[in-house]
Symmetry: C2
């Protein structure tokens, strides 16, 4: 062994969904958007002067911060932008969870939360969701150093109403409560309006799902000015310049075209509602998804088996070999054409058995 190895930090990294390079794959495994980014994004790329690259970008990401603040109707000092929502949540963990008290998040949720907690040596507890995969509000009344709730939750796809979120904020005035709204554009109301009454709320969003820009790496947080200032101090202690010129500019272009955004989100929601019916007809069940994916199990075929057989047919979905959910598949909503391929493949798998 190398002698310096004894100084190395031990971690168990997060394992992201596969990114197959094969173009023939029907890729329904990482909750990407099946439609391209707003047309203005393409225009911007077509007219880009590479000479601008030789200079550092604006470390304050002013243009994109202001565009997002105006879009959401909050102050220009209330938005933090990072390299995807993973970067934003990572900075939020480092910023707000520096006490010795355990933070709380559900046992079935985004598998990255415990990874960040371990990395930054933040103690944590994971209250179990109930038999229907619902988060139990009373579990979040114990002493804690912070709370993370994704709404809608992933991979369960369940959205909880604002009363539920407000209850948690009210019971925890001394804890920062992060509401991870990666999928909220496909669901109900954002917790944004609770910011007026609760200073302990931080909302996290991403351009990777509803804005079709997973490949550009843009995420953001909305909070009280004091919370955003605290995150900016931590960010400026890690990397002065995280957002490239082009990420800033294409991000602004996306925010500017709200009509396109709403149209593509509506198409995905329509496809999702149809998918619920189609999958039920062939023996699948699961929570009533309010996101851009379904979380379903089949009445007779194990999830792991369907996952493998779909993969052989070049259809990628996500499977988690974990207690309580190892019979479920997480299936991203694609175009109607991609979904038809999925239904056909599933029917073949069912009838071959």
């Amino acid at each position: 062994m190398n002698l310096w190895m004894s100084n190395v930090r031990k971690v168990t990294p997060y394992v992201a969904g596969e990114q197959p390079q094969n173009k023939n794959v029907v890729k329904l495994n990482t909750n990407e958007n099946p439609y391209p980014p707003a047309p203005e994004v393409q225009e911007l790329m077509d007219n880009y002067d590479a000479d601008i690259m030789r200079k550092y970008p604006d470390p304050d990401v002013t243009k994109l911060v202001n565009a997002l603040a105006d879009y959401h109707g909050v102050g220009h000092d209330q938005v933090f932008v990072g390299v995807g929502s993973d970067d934003v949540i990572s900075v939020a963990f480092l910023t707000f969870f520096a006490s010795d008290k355990p933070i709380l998040f559900p046992d079935i949720t985004y598998a990255f939360y415990p990874v960040w907690a371990d990395l930054y040596r933040i103690p944590y507890r994971t209250p179990a969701v109930d038999a229907d995969f619902r988060i139990v509000a009373s579990d979040y009344e114990q002493e804690n150093g912070g709370i993370v709730i994704p709404n809608p939750n992933a991979p369960t796809s369940i959205y909880e109403g604002l009363d539920f979120i407000e209850g948690i904020l009210k019971k925890n005035p001394s804890s920062m409560v992060i509401i991870d709204e990666a999928y909220v554009d496909f669901a109900g109301e954002s917790a944004l309006k609770l910011l007026e009454c609760y200073d302990n709320l931080l909302i996290v969003r991403t351009f990777s799902k509803s804005r079709s820009m997973a490949g550009m790496r843009i995420g953001y947080a909305i909070g009280r000015p004091e919370a955003i200032a605290a995150m900016n101090s931590i960010k400026a202690s890690i990397n002065s310049y995280t957002m490239s010129h082009i990420a800033i500019d294409t991000g602004v272009a996306s925010v500017n075209d709200d009509a396109y955004f709403k149209k593509t989100v509506a198409k995905i929601v329509e496809t999702r509602e149809n998918a619920k019916k189609r999958l039920k007809e062939i023996g699948f069940s699961g929570p009533d998804s309010q996101s851009n994916f379904l979380f379903v199990k089949h009445e007779s075929i194990p999830g792991g088996e369907i996952f493998k057989k779909l993969r052989e047919k070049n259809i990628f979905v996500r499977y988690f070999s974990k207690p309580r959910i190892d019979d479920y598949l997480r299936i991203t909503i694609g175009t109607p054409e991609e979904m038809e391929k999925l239904y056909t493949a599933l029917q073949e798998i069912i009838s071959e058995r």
Copy 2:
């Protein structure tokens, strides 16, 4: 005060050089390159299909990792890529400096090192450089949990030969030694060839200086496969996807055009050598720079005064109000035309006094 503030991590962030948005500024303050990126980078932007953005990028950054490995003649498992060298060094600190022993770096050096150490709660000591700003090799023979040496050092601009680096590697087999080579393309030989004999060496490079791509945010590390694997585990515990599609592709385009790269680096070195003479003629002195900036003081006018007066003339240089170096200016090498404007402005400041 907000109640959750007691859980917030306290830091003193790094303060980066100003990024004025005014186009008329002669910007010699953040060591950017005065020449545009390789022509192939522009071509790539001109032909970019924005549809690719809707998918996540390759989390392993394979294309760029392989291009860099081939360029440097190392294995494909010996390169780590991040969002600028700040991101790379931040990950390296988290990865390799997890012991309770203090890490070591010079007292006059890149001001971000103590910020990362504080953030990640890594103890550190800063041996003083000597009266000529040279790093003293024997200071790096005390017990330590890791070492960071920039070569050339910044803001001093001094390059130390490979014997010096090898001496430090030899004395510290149990410590990871990070050689920050942000400016090495303007200097002498890289420590790269020492990797064969020393498993405790990590070399860090950036696209921000010699490759004219500060605005795209690309940095990388070269090390032994075990070291790179350890960094990748930490990276995958922070953010699955740090490099956008376009950063990966434009990075590869830059590496591919070695003739352009060598030509622009040679132009900057030529301008630098001329600048040394011109500044000496008007009363400036400083170390013999082997980087893309000069570190100089004037024989009679305080550094802070020159800094302010240049700024009034829309010429930005970098000034550090710190003990031992508060009479010095760090001046980036611009185009010959920009440098002429600098010389004229300096002569005016001197004659006005």
